[in-house]
């Protein structure tokens, strides 16, 4: 659909068309075009929300309704095509059922490790860090091998994984601290000073 037809639809919705003939024409278009019908229903929904026609506390239900609608919608070929890839909107706007910050942040983190670490020749990147915990016992030979300055492939892989996990953890903490600041900006400062006085003896300041 073109921008023009979006405008026409919107005008039709608001009864803002110039004359009745134009309106009739637009109605015809609407009735014959499934794409236009989908856009219509979305605009109508947006309009209702904006005008406050929906009952209080309704927005949550609306998103559920939208979700249900999206679920029931036809495959991507029939979905409105926009300048910025609307055909994919249906797919990516469906949220995942479970929360796992790790994997998606890992995408970012792994990327930065990849470009940052000439030190570590290991190239393989695993978006999900499905690994055995590093803590606990290392192989007995580990330290000796390291002292000879020729770590094995396995050790390098393990080191890379650890470096990546530091980068990943740092980025996660940054995001969480953004949220913490947003949630509780006033309390933040009090808990901050509390944390500081707890963790740091005064003579060191």
């Amino acid at each position: 659909m073109t921008d023009r037809s979006y405008e026409q639809l919107s005008a039709l919705l608001d009864n803002a068309s110039e004359n009745s003939r134009e309106q009739e024409q637009q109605l015809d278009t609407l009735l014959s075009d499934s794409e236009a019908q989908q856009v219509w229903s979305r605009y109508a929904l947006i309009g209702r929300v904006m005008k406050g026609d929906t009952a209080d506390q309704q927005p949550l239900d609306i998103s559920a309704a939208v979700a249900a609608r999206i679920e029931s919608e036809a495959p991507p070929t029939q979905v409105v095509q926009g300048r910025f890839g609307k055909q994919r909107i249906q797919r990516w706007l469906r949220p995942a059922g479970s929360v796992a910050i790790a994997a998606s942040v890992a995408l970012i983190a792994v990327v930065s490790v990849q470009q940052n670490t000439p030190v570590v020749p290991e190239e393989t990147v695993q978006p999900a860090f499905a690994t055995a915990p590093l803590g606990g016992r290392n192989p007995v030979s580990y330290n000796t091998v390291l002292q000879s300055n020729e770590p094995t492939q396995a050790e390098l892989a393990q080191q890379t994984r650890l470096l990546q996990s530091y980068m990943l953890d740092h980025q996660q903490q940054l995001q969480l601290s953004l949220q913490a600041q947003q949630l509780n900006e006033n309390l933040e400062t009090t808990s901050e000073t509390a944390a500081e006085s707890d963790g740091k003896p005064t003579e060191n300041d």
Binding site: R83, P127, P201
Partner: protein, 330 residues
């Protein structure tokens, strides 16, 4: 919930207008001293990032990596902000920010989540959305005539750390809209580590159409954090950080991915953040090493502890932080 968010955004927008007006009461920014004029343009940018309706494409370069993205921003008539950032290469990662909630959608792995934050993480430093005052004590800002960027006349702003112990930023700001068109993060010596370059930028009268139906979309689950964090256990702490860094959070936990037990301290100076990790040296078993890049890392063995410092800082600064770690004197 949407209505609630809207009113919140309106009130912050009103605050921004106040500060904006404050800087406008002085007749002409260019007539002032370079520093305050630079602050003026920095604040123009932070306002533009919140208030403009625009469609842009950009390339982010980090080391040898190039990453194209589309970046859309708009404000609903009731003042609610919407921002959409889409990565165009590789994994399909998108973020949608509506008011104070930011959702990160990723494909194909089903790990999307929502955070309560009025800044999209990963594109620009959060400080760019705030007036410059917050950075004032530790950074200075300079303005100059900028080159032509994305076909537009710009002002060039430099943000420099006062002690040269942090990375510097160069910003090219559109003269007519105040929009950020290009950004460079460099070492104090001038080596470019990270860049953002807008390749197209169109300002719109109203919200871009592609954003108009985002308001009702389902959001992934909200990520909640455990309230009661465990206190640090190893009894060691950094005794030196560059001026202005303050502790944001401290805890003992297992780090993401490898489950290594660590004490973690996160510090910020308002623009730059740094993490200090302390773990058992035997368990960690990393050699001493330094990585300098957009995200630097320094690892140091200190007695029975391994100290790892991570952040957007020069490796030498991270080293000095790591070296300063000592047992808390009781």
């Amino acid at each position: 919930m949407g209505l609630l968010l809207a009113s919140v955004t309106v009130s912050t927008a009103a605050q921004e207008n106040v500060t904006d007006n404050a800087s406008n009461t002085t007749p002409s920014p260019t007539a002032q001293s370079p520093a305050s004029s630079a602050e003026f343009w920095f604040n123009q940018m932070s306002t533009a990032l919140r208030e403009l309706n625009f469609e842009a494409t950009l390339v982010k370069s980090s080391g040898s990596r190039l990453e194209p993205m589309t970046w859309l921003h708009g404000v609903y008539q009731d003042g609610l902000e919407v921002e959409l950032v889409v990565r165009l290469n590789g994994a399909d990662v998108r973020s949608v920010r509506i008011g104070d909630d930011t959702s990160y959608y990723s494909q194909p792995s089903d790990s999307s989540y929502t955070l309560h934050s009025d800044v999209t993480y990963g594109l620009l430093p959060a400080a760019f959305y705030q007036p410059f005052e917050a950075l004032q004590p530790h950074y200075q800002v300079r303005v100059d005539r900028g080159m032509r960027v994305t076909g537009r006349a710009t002002y060039f702003i430099r943000i420099l750390s006062r002690n040269n112990d942090r990375y510097h930023y160069g910003l090219w700001i559109d003269r007519s809209s105040g929009m950020l068109l290009k950004m460079q993060m460099t070492t104090p010596q001038g080596e470019v580590l990270e860049q953002i370059q807008l390749t197209t930028f169109s300002e719109r009268e109203s919200m871009p159409i592609s954003l108009s139906d985002l308001r009702g979309v389902p959001r992934p689950p909200r990520l909640h954090e455990i309230r009661n964090l465990e206190a640090p256990q190893y009894g060691v702490q950094a005794q030196w950080l560059p001026a202005g860094f303050e502790l944001l959070r401290a805890s003992h936990r297992r780090i993401a991915g490898t489950q290594l037990a660590t004490d973690h301290f996160l510090y910020t100076d308002g623009l730059t953040e740094v993490s200090i990790y302390v773990s058992n040296r035997q368990q960690q078993a990393l050699p001493e090493l330094a990585i300098q890049g957009p995200e630097s890392l320094f690892n140091l063995n200190l007695g029975e502890h391994a100290i790892t410092v991570v952040g957007k800082l020069p490796a030498t600064t991270l080293e000095r932080i790591a070296q300063s770690v000592q047992a808390d004197s009781e």
